[in-house]
């Protein structure tokens, strides 16, 4: 395994952790019903 492989792996893991943080903890990838129920106040601007 070369240096570039390690860099790529590092980038992929960092990106994955960010995606996980963003989607779970920041609730960007929310759950069924959130935008039609009450998870956050939604402002519909068409």
């Amino acid at each position: 395994m070369g240096f570039s492989d390690i860099v790529w792996m590092g980038l992929i893991i960092a990106g994955t952790l960010y995606l996980l943080y963003r989607s779970v903890w920041k609730k960007k990838g929310h759950c069924a019903g959130c935008d039609s129920q009450s998870c956050v106040l939604k402002k519909y601007k068409m």
Partner: protein, 746 residues
């Protein structure tokens, strides 16, 4: 006026607001208020083309939502307020609605009335009129009122109240132009609005005048900020919410003087006196304007309810309806699920491999894509049809009005655990996803009910657990698929009742408050509405697949391949952690590191259990790939023809559910290799114990965050985590060890 005469039908939603308009024009703010289930969200959706959630049960909207659009060169903002029966500050919905109206002072209130329940709806109207905000009444569901034989003299009602009344049928978009025209006219020419001051009787009126005067003299700034008559009523009613907000609760002597004789004369508290006065207004108005048929015919809703709400038949019918829903879900989705499976692990996987080869990616990256992303995300994606089928049937039950009956028939059982039927509504929402269900607990009256309901919601089996059930049921119980799935959902409800009983005797001592539940009429939901809401519910499953299921699949691949060059997955980091946990699960029949690792990954989201298994067992399943790879065009033709066959089989299965032998009982040999591997590592008994464990073990991370947000503490999640882990282990232990002792499915 007849339903046919209601003016033109709004063919298309109004024009969406252009971004540039918002700066130049004053926005007309219109609050849409009304009783629960009077059709507020349907009305807004019909006007503005939004997709606010609509359900034929009370309490669907629990927070205010907005829609902005342009109408006749005016910019209109509709604010959908939660449904309330009154403006008393007892429930979260009432507080949100009242605070918004009093503090934000919208330009107009559209009071959406259910024309079939005039008197009850007028009780809220009477209170809205106290606020001194221009009101326009949308007499909604006018067609249903006519079907019942009701005649409403809307002209007389207009005259008596002094407000514009527009008959509407929101589901058919009828009367909406008239409604918007009335709004614009009212804003353009406020002098056209002459609301009548409702007279509550001499004694109340003289008392309120005295309080108004006192407030005006002593607190002139308040008189400018709030509607004075409303404020006077609130002080007379000793409304603690208003008193504490305005911080003049100590200065109540002046009010005491004014209301003393009223209390003495009526021998009641002021709140009851005022409620009686308002009800008298609502009843009087109804008597004047509504004509009911002499002989009231029994409508369909009553006929169905005689059976559906029968004391002895209610719960068995609810269980039967659930069983039928799960059977239909399985039967309809199985051919499409098989098709998705063949597509994901056939052409999609081949194309991904070809793409990775094309860019000369290193071998590890190729493995990450095929053995990580496709095996992980793909294992979950094949359950898209089953998720959508389940959401479709749940949406149908919601829209038809049966869900409200389900809550009603469960009322007695809920009372035994110190809750009432209303708590069952958030729990039923939990069948879709536990997260909005946790938030829906805010519709409950007190903190005790909210916390207890939130603790029980994770026992309701959400859609994310479905892929795990489906893969195990498909591998071990294909002939009894619907029944086994039903048993899991019923077990969740039964254990919620048992845990509720335990909590009632320990953490939440006390009796459940009485609650009168409204039962909306049965309605056949429109196909369009069903499709929209099924998509709204199901699309988040796709979003999850592209976000944290993708992320966890990649992380699991790394954990299965680190330390780098590891020979066996068992020796990988994930394998090592799995081996540490596995002994705890051994008495439950699934003490392998593979099962332990999958369960740990499933903490992020339950469907990841399947994705992780897909990755762990990928080598074993990969071997069955054909050596000869078909051409791209051949793949496309095969995808098209197999999809047509899957659709036909799904349609046939709908009929087979009604008695003819079900296709779902036939085992498809080409089905995912994951099932074959599972058959070598689990027995039917340990498989059932495993899915019961998945049903019950700790709520996922997003539910944990929702609990923290809703209650402002980790305490309730901590309790939920502890009791659920113990319960999951205990139930799986009893099933596996009990079954082994009895010689069942070993």
């Amino acid at each position: 006026m007849s339903a046919e005469s209601i003016s033109e039908v709004m063919r298309d939603p109004v024009r969406p607001a252009a971004a540039s308009l918002s700066e130049e024009k004053r926005t007309i703010t219109v609050a849409v208020a009304g009783n629960p289930n009077s059709g507020k969200s349907t009305l807004i959706n019909a006007i503005a083309g939004t997709r606010l959630h609509v359900g034929n049960w009370p309490g669907v909207t629990v927070e205010k939502k907005e829609a902005l659009f342009e109408y006749e060169v005016k910019l209109i903002k509709l604010v959908d307020l939660p449904g309330t029966y009154s403006l008393s500050p007892y429930t979260q919905e009432e507080i949100i609605t009242r605070d918004y109206l009093v503090h934000e002072m919208p330009d107009v209130i559209i009071d959406v009335m259910d024309a079939t329940n005039l008197e009850r709806n007028l009780y809220l109207t009477v209170q809205l009129l106290e606020l001194d905000i221009p009101v326009i009444m949308a007499l909604n569901m006018y067609d249903e009122a006519e079907k019942k034989g009701y005649t409403i003299d809307s002209n007389m009602m207009e005259e008596m109240l002094g407000v514009k009344i527009v008959p509407t049928i929101a589901t058919r978009k009828a009367g909406l132009h008239d409604l918007l025209k009335a709004v614009v006219k009212l804003v353009d020419d406020p002098s056209s609005h002459h609301p009548k001051k409702l007279n509550y009787g001499e004694d109340i009126e003289s008392a309120v005048s005295a309080v108004e005067k006192q407030l005006k003299d002593s607190y002139p700034s308040l008189a400018e900020k709030y509607p004075l008559r409303w404020l006077a009523f609130k002080f007379m009613e000793e409304d603690e919410h208003v008193q504490s907000e305005l911080k003049i609760s100590g200065d109540v002597l002046l009010i005491e003087d004014a209301v003393r004789h009223l209390k003495k004369a009526h021998e009641e508290d002021m709140e009851s006196i005022m409620a009686d006065a308002r009800y008298a207004q609502a009843a009087g108005l109804t008597r004047e304007v509504l004509k009911r048929p002499e002989l009231r015919k029994t409508d369909l809703t009553e006929k169905i309810d005689r059976i559906a709400l029968n004391r002895f038949l209610g719960i068995p019918l609810f269980l039967a309806a659930m069983w039928f829903m799960f059977k239909l879900t399985f039967d309809v989705s199985k051919p499409l699920g098989d098709w998705m499976n063949a597509l994901t692990f056939g052409p999609f996987k081949r194309w991904a491999e070809a793409l990775v080869g094309l860019i000369h990616a290193p071998a590890w990256m190729s493995s990450l894509v095929t053995d990580g992303v496709i095996a992980g995300v793909g294992s979950v994606l094949v359950f898209v049809p089953v998720i959508f089928a389940m959401m479709f049937f749940i949406t149908f039950l919601e829209g038809s009005g049966y869900m409200a009956r389900a809550a009603f028939v469960m009322d007695r059982a809920m009372h035994s655990i110190g809750l009432h039927g209303k708590s069952f509504i958030p729990m039923l929402l939990g069948f879709g996803c536990n997260v909005p269900a946790i938030y829906a607990t805010r519709t409950l009256e007190n903190q005790r009910d909210k916390a207890l309901t939130a603790l029980l919601i994770p026992l309701m089996s959400c859609g994310a657990r479905l892929p795990v059930y489906v893969v195990f049921i498909g591998a071990f119980f294909p002939a009894y698929a619907g029944t086994v799935l039903w048993s899991l959902y019923v077990m969740g409800i039964a254990l919620a009742i048992v845990m509720g009983l335990i909590f009632k005797r320990t953490l939440f001592k006390g009796e459940a408050p009485m609650f009168i539940m409204e039962l909306p009429p049965y309605r056949l939901p429109s196909f369009k509405s069903l499709m929209i809401h099924t998509w709204e519910k199901g699309k988040h499953f796709l979003i999850k697949a592209g976000t944290y299921i993708l992320a966890v699949s990649i992380l699991v691949w790394f954990l299965l391949n680190l330390p780098w060059g590891v020979e066996s997955k068992k020796d990988s980091y994930l394998g090592q952690v799995g081996q540490v946990v596995a002994p705890v699960l051994k008495p439950l029949g699934f003490g392998s590191w593979e099962a332990a690792s999958s369960l740990m990954a499933g903490v992020i989201a339950k469907e990841i259990v399947v994705g992780t298994m897909g990755e762990i067992y990928v080598k074993k399943t990969g071997e069955e790939q054909s050596a000869v790879k078909p051409a791209f065009t051949a793949d496309l033709i095969e995808i098209g023809t197999s999809f047509t066959t899957a659709l036909r089989n799904s349609a046939e299965n709908v009929f087979s559910t009604f008695g003819i032998s079900s296709l779902s009982t036939k085992e498809d040999e080409k089905r995912s290799g994951l099932k074959s591997v599972l058959r070598t590592t689990f027995t039917p008994l340990s498989a059932y114990a495993f899915i019961v464990f998945v049903l019950l073990y700790m709520p996922c991370v997003v539910v944990a965050i929702a609990m923290r947000q809703e209650f402002g503490t980790w305490k309730w999640f901590g309790i939920s985590f502890a009791y659920q882990m113990a319960l999951a282990w205990l139930m799986a232990f009893v099933i596996y060890q009990g079954g082994t002792l009895l010689g069942i499915g070993g």
